[in-house]
């Protein structure tokens, strides 16, 4: 029976390339898919592109390809990625240079254009698209003049088209993470686009692989101490046939694949397990089973699918003001009391100088900055704390307003409670980007599949 073996090479933009390189060298892969895009990534890439027209994509992918392009081409391992981000053509052009430098004659680079809908926004508005926020907050009119990027999440179709034309690598923008995995599996196993149960299996293969190491023992709450060799953590690999769907990992690397590690990723960032909605299929994992099937091997069963939605998700990034975050550390004795006093000084200074932030958030690193309201605030614990770091964050509409807080922090070393220590240099004003998730009709989106062949 035909089997497709696909690896997940990246969990996010900035992830390590080590596991992907190891998989290309030592696992018997047919495909490697690398996901670089989180919700906010495209907005950040758009900012980079506005500053430098040659930026706006995941350059890390080019570095990875510099390592693996030749070996993957020789072994006929095909690679899929959404590293194109906001500048797909530049990513493709850099990739072409890598392939040329390595003498990969006949290397075919597939790429998908059309997910960037910013220019089409007025036209879509004229057609009556309302852009209502899926989270039921806000009025679109308040953000429509502050928009940075507008990208549609799309599914397998244009990626499959590239593969049908013989692409060795496929570069996209906002393809869904899971479509990068579903597309090659469908292409190999010949699944129809309305074979909902199988499509759902392919999506879940992507879902379990798209976060890289997190699917193989990274960020593993069940038993993190029991994960072998986290310093060379392998990333997960899916093996798919029409009958069987297994998760495993490459030989000779760290990490763990077992029922518990797979389950933690299985529902990660899923909402209703009976309706995990993607552009390709509405996935039902509410009766799924995860079964140990050998050493670092887990079998996934009973995934069902329902017809895909008529609408596609659109993610709009918009300018939402500015923020400043700064830190000041205090040591025993009375570290927490001193840090609280310093926070009080800063609040009074801001008020006196007419700085009125939209929001202030004060927390104490080492005590409650992560668990916030459910942190253990036992007075006996607090009394003997060795040290604590005051963290103050403010958000404002105007940049110069936010900047007013910056010069107030460092002076507290000499002008505040004893033993304050300032580190990390002066804070800087950061732009705040808001996200506006909405839906548009599927037929409003025109995507193109293209091929560039290296001579």
């Amino acid at each position: 029976m035909k089997k497709v073996i696909i690896g997940g090479g990246q969990g996010f933009w900035g992830d390590s390339n080590d596991a992907a390189i190891h998989m290309i060298r030592h696992a018997n892969l047919n495909y490697l898919a690398c996901d670089y895009l989180a919700e906010l990534t495209l907005s950040i890439m758009q900012r980079q592109k506005l500053k430098n027209p040659q930026a706006g994509y995941a350059r890390d992918f080019i570095k990875l390809m510099d390592e693996v392009a030749k070996e993957s081409f020789d072994k006929n391992i095909k690679i899929l990625t959404n590293a194109g981000g906001m500048n797909i053509t530049e990513c493709v052009s850099q990739l072409k240079q890598v392939a040329e430098a390595k003498g990969l004659h006949g290397y075919k680079i597939g790429y998908v254009l059309g997910d960037d809908l910013k220019e089409q926004l007025p036209e879509l508005m004229a057609q009556g698209v309302k852009f209502e926020n899926m989270d039921d907050v806000g009025d679109f009119n308040d953000i429509k003049d502050k928009i940075l990027n507008v990208n549609v999440y799309f599914g397998h179709e244009p990626i499959v088209k590239c593969l049908e034309q013989g692409a060795n690598v496929v570069v996209t923008g906002r393809a869904t993470d899971s479509a990068l995995f579903l597309a090659p599996i469908m292409h190999e196993l010949g699944w129809a686009k309305d074979d909902w149960d199988n499509l759902a299996r392919g999506i879940m293969a992507g879902h379990l692989l798209e976060c890289g190491g997190q699917g193989a023992g990274g960020n593993y709450q069940y038993d993190w101490r029991g994960v072998p060799n986290m310093d060379q953590l392998g990333f997960p690999i899916a093996e798919m046939t029409n009958d069987e769907f297994c998760i495993t990992k490459a030989p000779n690397c760290g990490g763990i694949i077992c029922e518990e590690s797979v389950k933690e990723q299985f529902l990660y960032e899923v909402h209703d397990p009976a309706n995990y909605i993607t552009p390709d299929v509405d996935v039902d994992i509410s009766n799924a089973r995860v079964v140990n099937a050998g050493d670092n091997r887990v079998r996934i069963e009973n995934i069902k699918g329902k017809p895909r939605p008529d609408q596609l998700k659109l993610c709009i990034g918009y300018h939402a003001g500015y923020k400043v975050v700064s830190y000041l550390s205090f040591a025993w004795p009375d570290a927490y009391e001193k840090a609280q006093y310093a926070a009080d000084i800063l609040m009074k200074k801001m008020q006196r100088k007419g700085l009125r932030p939209d929001e202030v958030h004060i927390s104490y690193v080492g005590l409650n900055s992560l668990h916030l309201g459910v942190a253990d605030m036992n007075p006996e614990l607090i009394k003997n704390m060795n040290e604590v770091v005051l963290r103050i964050a403010i958000r404002t509409k105007e940049k110069n307003e936010a900047a007013k807080l910056i010069p107030e922090i460092a002076p507290l070393q000499l002008n505040g409670p004893p033993g304050a220590s300032f580190f990390g240099g002066r804070a800087h004003v950061q732009e705040v980007i808001g996200l506006w998730p909405t839906l548009i009709p599927r037929d409003a989106v025109k995507l193109s599949a293209n091929i560039l062949e290296v001579k």
């Binding site: 906010l40 529902l267 909402h271 209703d272 916030l372 309201g373 808001g434």
Partner: protein, 111 residues
């Protein structure tokens, strides 16, 4: 009766979509699935997190995995970069959940 941490009988992971946080929770031992189902209700979770979570909490039960998925709206202080929290993506929401205390019969075997 005695109190234990949810961590003693469960494990899971938190993730984010905008300002929505989801935490999946699995019984470490299938025998504790029913206990978690009974004790860790959306109402109790809402009361536990208090101000940290401004929106509604829905629990989806997945008995075939001995697990649950808690979906919590307006849970991350605005989400993405709008949030001023250190952990704006809620990576530590999973462990924050796990330190919730639940009441069990004293004869229960705790891992």
């Amino acid at each position: 009766m005695k109190e234990i941490y949810l961590m003693d009988i469960a494990h899971g992971r938190s993730g984010d979509k905008g300002d929505t946080s989801n935490i999946c929770v699995f019984a470490r031992d299938p025998k504790d699935y029913e206990l978690i189902r009974r004790e860790v209700t959306p109402e109790k979770v809402k009361a536990y997190f208090g101000d940290m979570i401004k929106g509604e909490i829905v629990r989806y039960d997945v008995p075939s995995l001995y697990g649950f998925n808690f979906v919590m709206k307006h849970a991350l202080g605005g989400g993405a970069t709008l949030s001023l929290r250190l952990d704006s993506l809620g990576k530590s929401m999973g462990s924050a959940f796990m330190r919730m205390k639940i009441s069990v019969n004293t004869d229960i075997e705790v891992n």
